[in-house]
Amino acid sequence: MSGLVLNNVTKQFGAFTAVDNVHLSVPHGTFVCLLGPSGCGKTTLLRMIAGLEDPTNGTILLDGADITDVPTHKRNLGMVFQSLALFPHLSVGENIAYSLRIRGASREEQKKRVDELLTLIHLSGYGDRPVSKLSGGQRQRVAIARALALSPKIFLLDEPLSALDAKLREAMQVELRQLQQKLGITTIVVTHDQREAMTMADTVVVMNGGHIRQAASPIEIYRKPADTFVADFIGSTNLIETQVDSSGAATIFGHRVQGIVLPAGAQKATISVRPEDVHLTAPGNGAIDGTVTFVRDLGGTIETFVEAGGQQIIAVSTPRERPEVTAGQAVGIALSPDVCVVLKQ
């Protein structure tokens, strides 16, 4: 198949397993974000795709060809490093033209491609400047242009926006996504910022402890998290214990909830409910009983902390559907079954 495929890829550093038996296939032209806390193995996975680390086990295929043993400089890929790694002794134009120079491209060819790329990254006319005279965002773009100079098959970025301030980072996320769509290049980005992943990716790969916990579209990751880790890591959520009563129905805090189906044979399970899916009603009427402990009114959203069954449940609502509650008030929590995601154990 066309695209990048990782088969059973494992990487060990001494006794430590950084990446554990990972399977992943990235179809041609997709934008994938490897997302996870630090030390989850995402950077190691990216470096193995780049050929900067050799997998202890497993194979990496690109368009059907095994590239596991192909050295980095023959893999035809572009990579942007967290440090950017712009060559300090070269100007902006020379940095971008580096890969062309290595390939022995003529001066005219180099100049033409550099001008093209400078236009693409909105830095026309910056070719002769030293890299040290650029701002953070400009350097970022130069690093991207340098990686794209040879029109590589795969474009890899290791925490590319982490050095930028928040505002610029948001703008660059949109720009990077638009650039990727324009070029249609297979792109893999490592990030620990879930907003970044949600903004840019076709597929978000959530990793933890060297394993892939879930690989799916951003909205699916958010709406249908596979397990506790994913549910908790992506956005905020309420993790609630569910038990099966004697009649076989699912109960939450001893309250029967229609429509939640637990895996066959399971006596209990954890469900995830996003705060915006928690509706507060008057107590009774089949709702779960709770007591409001705190109301955080942020203007744009209102967070209501409710204590129920010895656990804190957070409900988020918009000012339009402002629940008229104050701390200490008894409320009912209504959970519709389609927002309750049963997580894998």
């Binding site: 035809n76 990579m79 490093f81 890969s99």
Partner: protein
């Protein structure tokens, strides 16, 4: 970090001690030497205060010019050999684990603790006909019979490179360790083989360090006066050897001082020239 320029004399306080030391142990002796270089020599090893140029005039002959040229050439050769050997070595060293790096650095420091005399005699044994390396070559069949590889021109820089190499590595080491390792990785992802990346990324990125190291080894090698005598023939003697000879064996202090002053001036001139060229290259 921005620093305030010194406001009062007291702000210069921390400089007094080093400045004083420099004055007593460098400026005063060097001034004395300059003065002596103009003194009149008396037969029998004495000199009287005077202001004559005869010491410098005597120096301006083809013989001393030749020795000066040879000394400079030898020092340049040693400096280049040291940097060419030390650069890849130090780069590979910087990629080892911390433990192995420490072991190597300790080994290099132990070479530094050897005196020039011991290095000289060790190499004269290694290069000798009776017990030297040529016997090994005979054993593996590369040579018919053992030969003496010293005294010869090759033996002099060999010993000097051996002596200066640890200094070179220790000067290059911090700069190479501090260099961002992703620079080399970036070059590889851009299609450069590791060896090409070494030459077109690492070497240019370390340009200033390499220049400084070349100058340091050059000056270090210029002062060497024992190794040329132990490992070379008289025609391989450097100006430093002649200065020692004049000062100690001929008891001609004014002439030795004149040669030393001249050597310092030539060295400073060359260093200034190198820095000037280096700065121009940076602007371009």
């Amino acid at each position: 970090m921005k620093r305030e320029p010194p406001q009062s004399i007291a702000d210069y306080g921390p400089l007094f001690f080093p400045a004083g030391m420099l004055l007593i142990f460098f400026v005063v002796p060097f001034g004395t030497m300059i003065a002596v270089s103009f003194f009149q020599r008396q037969e029998g090893g004495f000199y009287t205060p005077a202001f004559v140029f005869s010491n410098y005039e005597r120096f301006l002959t083809a013989f001393f010019g030749g020795v000066l040229g040879f000394s400079l050439m030898l020092a340049v050769t040693v400096a280049i050999c040291c940097v060419v050997l030390a650069l890849p070595f130090t780069y590979l060293l910087s990629r080892l684990t911390r433990r192995l790096q420490v072991i190597w650095l300790v080994a290099l420091l132990s070479v530094l603790s050897l005196s020039e005399v011991i290095i000289g005699f060790a190499w004269s044994t290694l290069l000798s006909r009776t017990a030297g390396l040529s016997n090994l070559l005979v054993k593996i069949g590369l040579l018919e019979q053992p030969v003496a590889l010293f005294p010869s021109f090759g033996a002099v820089p060999t010993g000097m490179v051996y002596q200066a190499l640890p200094y070179t590595i220790l000067v290059l080491y911090p700069a190479i360790v501090r260099l961002d390792p992703t620079l080399m990785e970036a070059a590889r992802t851009l299609g450069s083989s590791p060896i090409r990346a070494f030459f077109n990324v690492l070497v240019p990125a370390l340009r200033n360090t390499i220049m400084a190291t070349l100058i340091m080894v050059f000056i270090f090698a210029l002062g060497s006066y024992l190794l040329p005598q132990i490992l070379g023939r008289p025609q391989h003697w450097t100006l430093s050897v002649l200065i020692t000879d004049q000062a100690i064996y001929q008891s001609n202090m004014p002439f030795a001082a004149a040669m030393a002053v001249f050597l310092v001036l030539v060295t400073l001139g060359l260093v200034a020239l190198t820095l000037l060229i280096g700065r121009k290259g940076e602007k371009a």
